[in-house]
Symmetry: C2
């Protein structure tokens, strides 16, 4: 049954979107303050070296230099701290990756700041680094950290009896896959502006996904109470996980604290690519067992992820890879292992998908290889194994609603003309081979049970009925704030333009958690509804008081309160004014953390239900077997997102995710030599442009959840998880050979064709 | 029984106070923004005139002029609007007082802005103004407004049967009193800085007592939703009611809206004195009846207040005068009338005391005249008539706790050595006469029942246990934010330095009402306690979870949770971190509006209880009968304020109020000629300096209320109400002649001595 919504499900241009496309939008780097200094970091030229001498005295003496700080000038903890306390803000002893910084300067202008960096004398003793993650695990290999092994962690997700599962299998497919680094390449690089407010508060404007977490990190580095730090997030020009970690905001705060003046730091593109975390390159060994009918009986996955020297979110990413090892299918016996390996390579961490694109690629290639072996249609074998409501997908969890995957697959089949593809030429030219690939994935909404994961929000209705929404949740371009405006407008019967969503500000809003993990709509949306409900009740009370109406029948819509078929029609603005007159509360806060209803696991133990979203993509590609060039002709992307809040934003998220997946599959490749990235510009690191994007057919399956805001789930990460696998499967289908690695560059396609022919 | 507090009742320096005394504190005028324009207003040279021509074209053409606006350029309502919609922001037709403005300009600098004002051509036709409030009410006098009478309103507070009361009286005292204008003379004049935020919000920094009300007024003038206006209140250098009304913030917003650039407007002292509301000059006729024993039987008061041409809060002030007509005594039969009269004189409105100083002066002079007539001691006659718990003081209200006045009088008697004053020479020199005066007053906390009067507040505990308090309540120097920090610290067991109180910001905080009416501590304090209580419960829940302790026994104090005599001692910072880990809410909002418990009135009708605070002052003065010079030797000021929150701030409020009262009584005099103030500088309008201040002995009576935060009441206005009366009574006592007018200037003392001798 469809509910009738007034604002939810309606196409709405992104709030402030016009400013973005006309260039009027202001970002952190645009902020100008009187007497502002330019801040810069001095990075190590090495990936692995010992610091023998660090002398900043000459730099400090330069005219126009306000401060030069090294590790010893940090008042609090010299660490990014949040995930793991291993990454120093400024290195004093040993360089462990090429993004390490040793000093920061603040100067009157760019030129003086650069001159100050040049005037710092650093003597390094280069050390032999650890650059091969496989070698890193060998006995006798140099340790990245003297005090610990190069194997940081080894996670195992396991259920059933995997050996029994393989014993029950009629066929077993075994392959090893490898994936590469991916760079976020968000259009706006990292930046921060810090200044001291009149009451001594350190205010930091930063392009961040996690303002409240940054606040803690800054407070600890400065050794001051958290409330004496205020982080504000202006508009963000893309993030994708690169701005989940703190970047230069702590350094800007340190310089402001030292100089008592405003400081701006902007990372150049070179610095940005060099320093921030990447998508983990992974090596993934898969063993998949199935019956002769194609039913999966067992999966054993072992993934190795090169996380660089500092762990940050890297361990969590590998844990996620392990958790998703069985894919969105019902697998009765599974063992899924993930190793987090330390090296002196670029650091890896959060990136849209958070480990799932890698494991999906491997798993979905396995499914196609299984289908090949069994002479089954790749789409049919997926339909056969689709996970269903209440089935296990993690050691202690079952999926809460499980009909979405089947529905997505069926719709993708239909929209792509999957069954009719045999009518289309597989070889339109002698050198051109056409292929089709299907892939699926799923994604949990939010983190997991027993994890700190919550959002708070506040709603305030003014006397004219217009509303301010205060949330700590960043909108980094994904449209979260437009969605918030819709949710609150729907709940209070307003037009969305009368709801103003404040950009995150840690002093203004409570912690809403980071804008990650496809959690924002559900977590902040529910917190907003709880806050708005208080105000809604006030409005209803006044209508009842004024009219004696049955509150159950009152409808709030389009700025009015009315009752169907009756003469009652009151302006919400007037109700708001009356609420103020009558001393009724028009401000409220809301708080949400996810409920995980209990579930009985197959082994009889107690587990829980988890909300997940699903998707299925079909890719149609042309491969030039002479040049190895892959052209994607079209992508059909179907997602189960629950109730759609804003179809326009949703399409943007899916098209963006597909494009990012296409780049990951075919084009993007970071060249790392002895730990040093060679292509640190967008001229040398190629991401898709408009001309690279194929026709993308987007559709949705709307199966509303009951615990989520108006039944919405998520769409931030899923598209990126699936597209690379669909393309890889399509290329394999076109050339009739397996594709076991990403990226699928022309060279690698030629290698695949040749290798398999030999 | 004394409760044991840890933070409440402890002397605390004002938060940020050190910055004030060292000159580091920043106020609105200190705000500098890139590309900021200087805004200025063109005021009328007349107090009453018709505008024949207004030509701004030449001013607009000047280089460096960004905007010149007149009434017709205002997008929304051309009115200050809030109290009454009668005062235009810019006048287009008729000038009604000398503070009216006809145009505003924004220019690149001060010089150009001044040149632009000079380039505006205005042709006025001067009109005969209405400058005598008594004449104003005569038939045939010109009307200030064509469309209405010069009598704006006539309020009557009445109970019992006043004619019967006078019939029961053995003596009746009848006199007429007059009081003068008072100028607030706050050290920081009015100012505002406006700019447009990235999302189009009009942000206004303003020195204001009522940010949320200003927000509404600005939105209406600009014709935009309220939430598109954000008013922020930086530190305020005094207000006293002058900043309760909007002043230049709407004009700054208009200029920013027109130019899309930041605009700063600062009123010069001359402009400040010329434009903002004053304390009403009043003429008060009193008839007081009593028995031969001194028991009051009836009071009839009639007050006339000259409010100028625009009503704003003027009617409310006169209504208050009417409400307080019976004074803090039990009067069985009362009739108290107040007339609000329109003239072309300076406008009058809110000023610390809000009508009560005038009526107290008259009432307390009557009490002394009554005591004289009955040969009673002035203090004894007051003790005899003190209002008591449950006794009527307004048509429908009784005082909630009434023992405070007697206690204040007894303490003031003791501290002043009242009974022993006869031992001190009344004539230390032939030309010097010494006198003693006692006076009392009371003051309601907040407005009244059935009036829009509420506060909201929010409290947010960070992961390290430090706290942010968000409130829309202005601290204009009275120490409200220090009190808030103490209340929240006490409630959450923190040190006050771990509580950060945000300066008002309409986007950040809900409406807390204006900082007026001695309401802030009680209203915002209670809202804060409600918000803090949610967090306190979370902390207690965790202690119980961790230790199994009985929650009733847990004490939160000094950053720790502990149980007397047990080993339990947990850091609140750790509990806060655990709350975040465990997804428990650490943000909450609170809302408070006053409960007015029912009371039965003497006539059997239903009324309500109202919280009031009391005070009694004794003044000792020396009068030079040759020069008329009055020297105040000492003031004893005793106040019933409920539980004292911050003794240091409380003493500051009382000393400040006494000083302001002394200025009002003896020195401050605005010379108004044909509606034009002649002394618009602090060189010509004299306020007391440190050398004018006598010894002030401050003491309190702490009778805690049960509905208020930790039992606190108020102290903002009461001292100012009482001191002038105590001084007037002391002067009358010294010279042995009545004093029926304020100010008691040397000239007027000589007149009094002479007049009474004749």
């Amino acid at each position: 049954m469809m509910k009738e919504f007034n604002v939810i499900g309606k196409k709405l241009a992104a709030v402030g979107g016009q400013d973005v496309v006309t260039g009027k939008a202001k970002y952190s780097p645009d902020l100008e303050l009187p007497k502002m200094l330019v801040g810069k970091l001095l990075y190590s030229p090495h990936a692995c070296a010992r610091i023998i001498e660090l002398d900043v005295s000459k730099a400090r003496e330069l005219d126009g230099v306000a401060a030069v700080l090294t590790a010893e000038d940090i008042p609090g903890e010299n660490s990014y701290l949040y995930w793991y306390p291993d990454q120093p803000l400024l290195v004093s002893d040993q360089i462990r990756y090429n993004g390490d910084a040793v000093a920061i300067v603040a100067a009157e202008n760019e030129e003086i700041a650069t001159a100050a960096l040049d005037a710092i004398r650093v003597v390094y003793e280069p050390l032999e680094g650890v650059f091969d993650p496989e070698q890193a695990l060998n006995q006798g290999t140099r340790r990245v950290w003297d005090e610990k092994e190069n194997l940081h962690s080894h996670y195992i997700s396991e259920w059933g009896d995997v050996e029994l599962g393989f014993a029950q299998a009629d066929v077993i497919i075994e392959n090893t896959y490898s994936t590469h680094y991916q760079e976020h390449a968000m259009l706006e690089t990292e930046s921060a502006v810090a200044y001291i407010d009149h009451d001594g508060t350190i205010v930091v404007y930063a392009s961040t996904q996690a303002p409240h977490r940054d606040q803690i990190q800054i407070a600890r580095a400065l050794n001051i109470p958290e409330v004496m730090v205020r982080e504000i997030t202006p508009r963000i020009g893309g993030a994708f996980g690169a701005k989940d970690e703190a970047n230069v905001q702590i350094h800007a705060a340190l310089l402001t604290y030292a100089t008592q003046r405003p400081v701006k730091i902007i990372r150049s593109r070179e610095e940005s690519i060099r320093t921030h975390v990447k998508r983990h390159p992974a090596k993934i060994k898969y063993r998949t067992g199935a019956t002769i009918e194609g039913k999966l009986t067992a999966v054993h996955m072992v993934a190795y992820g090169d996380t660089g020297p500092y762990v940050n979110a890297g361990e969590e990413v590998m844990m996620t890879m392990s958790a998703y090892g069985a894919g969105p299918y019902y697998v009765p016996h599974a063992r899924s292992e993930a190793y987090t390996v330390l090296t002196n390579n670029p650091i890896c961490g959060a990136f849209r998908g958070f480990g799932v694109p890698q494991v999906t690629f491997a798993f979905e290639r396995q499914m196609d290889e299984l289908a090949n072996r069994l002479r089954m249609d790749p789409l049919d074998i997926r339909l056969l194994n689709c996970i269903k409501t209440g089935q296990q997908f993690q050691p202690k969890a079952v999926v809460r609603m499980g009909d979405g995957l089947r529905a997505c697959l069926e719709k993708a089949s239909q929209l792509s003309g999957w069954k009719e593809r045999i009518k289309i030429s597989r070889e339109p030219e002698p050198n051109l081979k056409r292929g089709w690939g299907v892939a699926t994935s799923f994604h949990k909404v939010g983190f997991d049970k027993n994890v700190s994961d919550h959002s708070s929000a506040a709603v305030n209705m003014a006397q004219d009925g217009s509303v301010v929404v205060r949330t700590g949740a960043s909108d980094m371009g994904q449209g979260a704030h437009t969605v918030f405006a819709q949710i609150v407008a729907e709940h209070l019967g307003l037009k969305p333009e009368h709801v103003k969503v404040i950009r995150p500000d840690t002093t203004m809003a409570g912690d809403a958690g980071a804008s990650v993990a496809s959690r924002v709509t559900v977590f902040s949306g529910n917190a907003l509804i709880k806050a708005a409900e208080t105000i809604r009740q006030t409005l209803l009370d006044i209508v009842v008081e004024e009219t004696g109406a049955d509150p159950e029948l009152i409808i709030l819509r389009n700025g009015y309160a009315y009752i169907e078929g009756e003469q009652i029609n009151l302006r919400i603005a007037d109700l708001a004014a009356k609420a103020y007159e009558r001393n009724l509360p028009m401000q409220a806060s809301g708080f949400y953390s996810m409920d995980f209803p209990e579930a009985e696991m197959p082994d009889g133990s107690s587990g829980y239900q988890h909300i997940v979203c699903y998707g299925a993509h079909v890719a149609q590609v042309l491969v030039d077997i002479e040049t190895g060039q892959v052209t994607v002709e079209k992508i059909i992307a179907v997602h189960d997102v629950g109730q759609v809040i804003n179809p326009k934003g949703l399409r943007g998220q899916i098209e963006g995710g597909v494009s990012m997946g296409l780049g990951y599959a075919l084009m993007e490749e970071l060249h790392v030599d002895q730990g040093i990235i060679q292509n640190t510009s967008l001229e040398s690191y190629l991401i898709p442009t408009a001309l690279d994007i194929p026709q993308i057919i987007v559709d949705v399956v709307e199966l509303p959840e009951d615990e989520t805001p108006y039944g919405a789930k998520s769409v931030g990460e899923p598209p990126t998880n699936i597209t690379p696998s669909a393309i890889a499967n399509a290329v394999a289908d076109a050339i009739g050979k397996p594709i076991n690695y990403l990226p699928i560059s022309p060279e690698s396609v030629l290698v695949a064709i040749k290798a398999a022919s030999e």
